[in-house]
Amino acid sequence: MSASETENTSEATLPENENALASAALETIQDTMDQFMATADVNAVFGETIKHQGNLILPAAEVVSIMGFGIGSGAGVSEENKGSGSGGGGGGKTFARPVAVIVANEQGVQVKPVVDFTKIYLTAFTTLAFITSAWLRMRRGK
């Protein structure tokens, strides 16, 4: 096979590769979007029921999902720079925090809250630090 034949083959397959890459990227975006939208479902908040020693336990959590992505393309307009290109990127994060546990037993159905003491201590210390620094600034400015 000559060098010119090799060049022709690679030129012929390049658009197909680009199409395959673009469709794969679109599929990934669609999957991510579907997963993101599934966060709004009730099943994302309430877990599977657990039966334990005559109790029915149903965990409940708060779920926050953030997602963003972008795509762009461009091409050279001058005679020397005729190249073109495109690209994209994105990211997202899902946070989940237990809020309560619903317990059903012989006594009835009860909602038992889940308290995150670490978060409470962090909030208290941050607030205290903020007040102390503001108070010190007030004293200096007097």
Binding site: A44, F46, L58, A60, V114
Partner: protein, 86 residues
């Protein structure tokens, strides 16, 4: 921007029918960006006697956090008042 309540089909347990309710807040301003905040609202309970009651789910951690922050701001406001007068 939408606020939507969603129910799960009831779970049957010893004559009780428990149906969880969640509330989803969606903010999707464009196809490229979005936020979804989904939280439990409560459970709809139907007793074996046929009575229906709604048990709310309170986020105790968040309530305590808000109380701490508001108390801090109030304290700061009081300190400012004291320093202004003196």
């Amino acid at each position: 921007m939408t606020l939507q309540n969603t129910n799960r089909p009831p779970v049957k347990w010893r004559g009780y029918q428990i149906s969880p309710v969640a509330q989803a807040f969606r903010f999707v301003p464009s196809a490229q960006f979005g936020i979804i905040w989904n939280r439990p609202v409560g459970v709809q309970v139907q007793t074996p006697q046929g009575e229906t009651q709604f048990l709310p789910v309170h986020d105790l951690t968040r309530i305590i956090q808000v109380i701490i922050i508001l108390s801090g701001l109030f304290l700061l406001f009081l300190l400012k008042l004291i320093y202004k007068r003196s």
